[in-house]
């Protein structure tokens, strides 16, 4: 009867039902669409960047070509039909109109070549292959060159680092090619060509199921993470439900009838667990059937749905325990709703929903271990990405259930103690 009553209460609150079922779907679609581009090798939206070419040589041409060929950037050299200068590019970037400007200094190609020539000559001379005295009088000092990068102050550090790393790699390749070419010319062996391809390459070995490689995509990463986030948002309606009972006075009836409080709590737990599971299956259905129609990969749950359901169920337990505790301690909805929302976001942040735990500072990595969302996320990844078994997820789901038991026990004891005041 308690479960039926809880369902009736939810049914009569259309706004609450919309929040419970529609918002998680909106959330999962929006976030997956946004984050999908970071997983794609081909992105539809390229970032325009400014390039000021004061060199007009081989190096700047190579930088320009490589940037144009990249799938991330489009190169802009003029604004309003006016050729860019360092100051105009700097102004445009610092005003936030563009995220990045690259300033290639004058004579970069010529000076790079001079420096390489000098170094190669030194080497060949030391090997006794050229006339050192004859060349010595031509040697001039070549100063170090600086490629300037201007970033929009609003640009995140991770983006800055990625851009600087790829430009550094591009320039290193140009330098290497020039060194090889100079050696070739110095040795006078026009017909001999050096192999310029990288000797060391990388190959990612991905897990295989039935001899087929399973390559993770944005959907496989995002759906579990945001499903978990949505499940934990049940803390808000559940805590409000409990606070309302206190303010409406129905709490008095619930405490003065012979049914123990633990049964009342069990009624709420069953109801909200059913809601969690409906949320979960709705999100899974959307990820499987709707995502391919909006340009996203379909979620592959083949053979994993049962274990994923178990993880969702235990994550639901964790969220419900937290909601019961919050609802018991909070005195008003003004306390429970903002605290519930903020604490879920904090748990998500430290749990690795946005930033992977391995990328966090050491201190935060330790704290992350205490977030129930981290346990749930790890269990989902164990199932969906690492193809683990029930044994692999046992530690995480046990922790989630323990969290439910502890939070619910604290809530029951708190309630009991409060009556003894």
């Amino acid at each position: 009867m308690s479960v039926y009553k809880e369902f009736l209460l939810l049914k009569r609150d259309i706004g609450g039902v919309v929040i419970l079922f529609i918002m998680p779907l909106v959330l999962i679609i929006t976030v997956t669409l946004i984050q999908d581009s970071t997983f794609k090798t081909v992105s539809d939206a390229k970032i325009p960047i400014l390039l000021v070419d004061n060199d007009n040589g081989n190096v700047s041409k190579t930088v320009f070509d490589n940037l144009q060929k990249s799938n991330i950037f489009t190169v802009v050299t003029k604004i309003n039909d006016e050729q860019l200068t360092e100051s105009s590019a700097k102004e445009a970037v610092f005003k936030g109109k563009y995220q990045l400007a690259i300033i290639i200094p004058e004579k970069l190609s010529a000076d790079l070549q001079s420096k390489i020539d000098q170094n190669v000559e030194k080497i060949t001379a030391s090997l006794g292959m050229t006339d050192t005295l004859a060349k010595a009088e031509k040697t001039t000092v070549v100063n170090q060159k600086e490629v300037k990068l201007y970033f929009d102050p609003a640009v995140q550090m991770s983006f800055k680092n990625a851009v600087m790393s790829s430009i550094d790699k591009m320039i290193s390749q140009i330098e290497t090619k020039s060194i090889y070419a100079t050696f070739q010319a110095q040795l006078g062996e026009e017909t001999t060509s050096f192999e310029q391809k990288s000797f060391i390459t990388f190959k990612e070995i991905v897990p295989k199921v039935n001899n087929e490689e399973i390559i993770p995509n944005s959907v496989q990463h995002n759906v579990p993470a945001w499903t978990l986030f949505a499940i934990f948002f049940i803390v808000i309606p559940l805590s409000i439900n409990i606070v309302k009972e206190k303010s409406q006075g129905t709490f008095v009836r619930l405490r003065t009838n012979p049914v123990p409080n633990v049964i009342v709590i069990a009624g709420k737990t069953i109801t909200y667990l059913i809601i969690c599971m409906i949320q979960f299956y709705m999100m899974i259905l959307v990820a499987i059937f709707l995502f391919p129609h909006i340009g996203l990969p379909s979620l592959n749950v083949e053979g994993n749905l049962f274990l994923m359901s178990i993880v969702a169920l235990f994550s639901g337990f964790g969220a419900i325990g937290f909601g019961i505790l919050l609802g018991t301690i909070a005195k008003t909805q003004e306390q429970s709703a903002p605290f519930g929302a903020t604490s879920v976001i904090i748990l998500a942040a430290i749990g690795g929903i946005w930033v992977p735990v391995f990328a966090m500072p050491k201190m935060m990595q330790l704290i992350a271990q205490s977030s129930p969302m981290n346990w749930g996320l790890n269990a989902f990844y164990d199932v969906l990405l690492r193809h683990g078994s029930i044994v692999d997820i046992l530690p995480e789901i046990s922790l989630l259930f323990l969290f439910f038991i502890i939070t619910t026990t604290i809530a029951l004891q708190y309630d009991k103690k409060k009556r003894a005041v």
Partner: protein, 250 residues
């Protein structure tokens, strides 16, 4: 006669409070009585009822209901008592019938017995045609009547009523009082608090005037009036015992 409620030296001091809300309070209430607990604001009436219902734990002392000590038999006691709190303790978005079916089920009532009991009670209090309307659409008087039914569906031996007629029109008040008299006739002992002294004078068989956590006087309404100099009614007795000073307390 054997008391159905026996209260022995019951005391309650809330955390951080300077004074006891109830101090060494002893009282016997007998089966079949309609017992009025009357007193100014802060006298300790609600604290006493809250302790007898199990909502608040006593600081010291003991009590028993129907020979069951609360300390040892709280769940047994909860089966034989009914509580009608001062606030509308109902779910506003549920209908009258849904509320009553839910609260009735909490006392172990089920099936057709419960459904028939709900219909019968709604009919007696003139609310049957509103059975499937949501509580949030009801007037104050209608809510009070549903609030009462929710506390008596299981035919309690002892019924606690905390100001059951506050804020209702005369018609609703009369319907509530008539229903309570019927319940009492059928064997339910009623413990009632109110600030309506004329209502208490007519309704109660016995009265205790309580103030500052202690009993100032106890007896039938007529005896209390007769034993107080120049008293024409219960209000005169009340003023004579508790004084005229205002009782504003936070």
């Amino acid at each position: 006669m054997k008391p159905i409620i026996q209260i022995t030296q019951l005391s309650k001091k809330y955390k951080d409070a300077e004074m006891y809300s109830l101090s060494d309070f002893s009282l016997s209430i007998y089966e079949g009585q309609i017992f009025g607990l009357l007193g100014p604001n802060g006298a300790g009436k609600t604290t006493l009822i809250s302790m007898l219902c199990g909502l608040v734990k006593p600081t010291s002392g003991s009590f028993s209901i129907d020979d069951l000590s609360y300390a040892k038999n709280s769940s047994e006691i909860k089966k034989i008592i009914g509580v009608v709190p001062q606030e509308y303790a109902l779910y506003p978005t549920l209908t009258a019938r849904e509320n009553l079916l839910y609260f009735g089920s909490m006392y172990g009532l089920k099936g057709n017995d419960l459904k028939e009991k709900v219909i019968e009670s709604l009919d007696f209090l003139g609310l049957l045609k509103f059975a499937d309307k949501r509580i949030e659409t009801f007037s104050g008087g209608m809510k009070r009547r549903i609030n009462l039914i929710a506390g008596i569906l299981h035919n309690p031996k002892v019924l606690f009523l905390d100001e059951p007629t506050v804020g209702v029109d005369v018609q609703s008040k009369n319907a509530i009082i008539d229903y309570l008299k019927k319940l009492n006739k059928n064997g339910t002992t009623i413990i009632y608090t109110s600030h309506h002294l004329s209502e208490a004078q007519d309704f109660c068989t016995d009265i205790a005037i309580v103030d500052r956590g202690k009993i100032y006087a106890e007896g039938t309404p007529n005896n209390l009036i007769a034993s107080t100099a120049n008293a024409r009614n219960l209000e005169d007795v009340f003023i004579a015992l508790t004084g005229k000073e205002l009782r504003d307390d936070i």
